[in-house]
């Protein structure tokens, strides 16, 4: 069990800076997600925590001990990779017991540990099978078993579900999370899949180009994005951006865009220039009273809900509405925005303007 603190962590590979200057804290027992597109520095960050990569500067504390420059084996961390490397010539039991046997643990104690771990993972019935004939899911469980059995301080997982097909992936994601809830071990998990991060994580760090864009709980990151990058990366479809030129004052609770007043959470800082009004698809309703009007371009059926794309003067918008509400391509509809959920951004820098909604959440001041 471990608390992990990262302070001003930086990593350069030659001229390329993979991680700029990261600081965040992972609480003991947390399921912690490092999320971002490829090349954002998330895997490098994970590898530095595990000790597979040494930081250029900065500190890593595991349970208050600074381990930044220590080799991996002195950190007591288990690493689970995307490709599960099992010993093909050994059966399941020997694969799982290997890390313990190589530590010199007594046979009796090893047998107890393996029994316990296989019960947690539900693989008691395959212990004597060779690993070569196992299904993908069972192979993954064995690989996890081998990581768990050592009882490390923390688990590092690098897209462990990346190689699986969508359906099975969802199933394993639930299983992994349930396993974590039973064991309570600190887990750091790298993914580029925002849904996976939202679904499994207690906290999320969103990275882009080696920089931490935002750090917080899934719901906060979704509802109160600190930057346009986060607003766009999290959520499917992503947040709608309406660009306009205008101004707001501290205390304003509406903005004027293309001659229409739109409600916003009370603004806490003045701004004049190129603004972006950000609104999530589920906070746009289609009704005839809406001040903004547009033409329905497409309706994507999703079972319970549908995604309707509407062409407006400010650009295309996507709204998520119930699938039993009619929306036909070609028809003109009114749009009503739920302004209490909107975020205003500075179009130039991409950062969110401070408001009553996001005040407590924004890291940048």
């Amino acid at each position: 069990m471990a608390e992990i603190v990262i302070r001003n962590l930086r990593k350069e590979f030659g001229d390329f800076t993979a991680v700029q200057s990261s600081s965040f804290k992972i609480e003991d027992g947390e399921f912690f997600m490092l999320l971002g597109p490829s090349g954002c520095g998330k895997t490098t960050t994970l590898r530095m925590i595990a000790g597979l990569e040494l930081p250029t500067s900065g500190e890593i504390y595991i349970d208050k001990e600074e381990v930044g420059q220590k080799p991996a084996r002195q950190r007591d961390i288990a690493f689970v990779f995307q490709m599960f490397a099992l010993y093909p010539h050994m059966n399941v039991r020997r694969n799982i017991s290997y890390p313990l046997v190589s530590q010199g643990m007594s046979k009796k104690h090893v047998a107890e540990k393996v029994a316990e771990v296989s019960r947690i993972l539900g693989i008691e019935d395959i212990l004597d099978r060779p690993v070569s004939g196992l299904s993908g899911g069972d192979r993954q469980r064995v690989a996890l078993g081998r990581a768990i059995v050592r009882e490390p301080k923390a688990f590092m997982m690098d897209e462990p579900l990346g190689a699986l097909d969508a359906e099975f992936r969802e199933h394993m994601a639930e299983e992994l999370r349930a396993l974590h809830d039973r064991m309570g071990a600190t887990t750091v998990y790298v993914t580029h899949d925002q849904l996976e991060a939202m679904q499994m994580g207690d906290k999320i760090v969103v990275m882009n180009h080696g920089v931490i864009e935002q750090f917080g709980t899934p719901q906060d990151i979704y509802d109160k994005p600190a930057t346009m990058f986060v607003a766009d990366f999290i959520g499917s479809p992503s947040m709608n951006f309406l660009r306009f030129h205008g101004e707001v004052h501290a205390g304003s609770s509406s903005v004027r865009m293309h001659h229409v007043d739109l409600a916003v959470p009370t603004v806490r800082e003045p701004f004049e220039g190129d603004l972006v009004y950000g609104i999530r698809p589920e906070h746009i309703a289609l009704n005839d009273d809406g001040g903004n009007r547009g033409e329905v371009v497409a309706a994507e059926y999703l079972g319970t809900t549908q995604i309707v794309t509407v062409k407006t003067v400010g650009g295309d918008l996507q709204a998520r509405i119930p699938s039993d509400q009619p929306a036909r391509p070609g028809e003109t509809v009114g749009l009503a925005f739920n302004g209490t959920t909107a975020t205003l951004f500075d179009n130039q820098s991409g950062r969110a303007l401070k408001s009553d909604l996001n005040e407590g959440v924004l890291a940048h001041v």
Partner: protein, 331 residues
């Protein structure tokens, strides 16, 4: 473009039956998706239509004419694969023009020029026409490989998971783009995927495959709202349909062994008590993982319900689906 009809198509590889007695009509201008897990026979059906495989029995016809004796080239189909394979030494323009330079087509040069420009416009890669194929992002490369299929005017476009190797964001962008392109060209398209979102959002029709058999064919809405069996019901819908013993709630019809509850079929506030195991905040929705008499149930939380693990929620079904012991739909 013309209607493509499959009649009693079967194909086995040794002892493995890949496609079993499949009959299906792909209407002119339709976007038909074959949906099923790995090994359901989706790709084999594409290969049978294109002529890359020969069926053991059955017939494939284009516009009412059997093409069983035609070579793949004569069938004039265009295929797009999961792994885009562009000619790395050629520019985007040359890659797009390549299919038109086929000696079989004898396309005049100005016609090639016109088609390439038109397709590049549709795919929004006009500004990259002079780039080397290797100097493109993954999404652009896949658009070029789709473009290479689009410059031709084949009877049907066959696409085998063309978006699955792309990252999530790009996939959702290209999904809308592909649908737009198909509609604007009026193209007939047969699309293979195991991704239910792709199937639901793009298709005019979905064919659900189970171990080589076509179990249901219909519009996305029909497949979602009126599945013929439990297998089909489980293919669409996220979170997945909950399947419980039929007698867990009162009012099951005679012969019902299992009750299928999609998240919107579960009403909160009244009925049987269940325990909250986990609450997932996914932004636009809150997923509740419940335990009901030992069974796992996943549903969506009412917007303002502030539930936590350990809380009790009463739930009851609303317009559920019922299935018999064999998984066949009853009502």
């Amino acid at each position: 473009m013309s209607e493509v009809r499959l009649s009693n198509l079967s194909k086995a590889f040794g002892d493995t039956v890949a496609v079993s007695d499949v009959s299906m009509t792909i209407p002119n201008g339709a976007f038909v998706t074959l949906l099923g897990p790995t090994g359901a026979g989706k790709t084999t059906i594409l290969r049978l239509i294109s002529g890359l495989e020969e069926p053991d029995s059955g017939d494939v016809s284009f516009g009412g004419r059997s093409v069983m004796d035609d070579t793949p080239a004569q069938r004039n189909v265009a295929m797009v694969f999961q792994q885009y394979s562009l000619y790395p030494h050629m520019s985007v323009r040359e890659n797009l023009a390549f299919p038109l330079r086929s000696p079989l087509l004898k396309t005049p040069a100005d016609e090639i020029e016109r088609k390439v420009a038109e397709v590049a416009e549709v795919l929004r890669i006009s500004h990259k026409l002079n780039n080397k194929a290797t100097a493109l992002s993954g999404g652009e490369m896949q658009r070029v490989s789709i473009g290479r299929a689009l410059v031709r005017e084949p009877t049907i476009y066959l696409m085998d998971e063309p978006l699955s190797s792309l990252d999530a964001k790009l996939r959702s962008d290209l999904r809308i783009e592909l649908k737009r392109i198909q509609e604007s060209l009026g193209a007939t398209l047969l699309y293979v995927t195991h991704d239910q979102i792709e199937a639901m959002t793009m298709s005019t029709h979905i064919g659900v495959l189970d171990q080589g058999k076509l179990v249901q064919f219909g519009t996305p809405r029909e497949i979602y709202e009126n599945p013929v069996n439990l297998y089909v019901a489980g293919r669409l819908g996220q979170p997945r349909i909950n399947v419980l013993p039929a007698d867990i709630f009162a009012g099951a019809p005679a012969g019902a062994a299992q009750i299928g509850l999609r998240p919107e079929h579960i009403q909160q506030g009244e009925g049987k008590g269940s325990t909250v195991k986990r609450v997932e905040h996914l932004g636009d929705q809150i997923r509740l993982h419940l335990k009901l008499e030992g069974h796992d149930v996943v549903t969506l939380s009412d917007a303002h319900a502030d539930l936590e693990p350990g809380d009790t929620v009463a739930i009851q079904p609303r317009n559920p689906l019922f299935f018999d012991a064999g998984g066949v739909r009853i009502t």
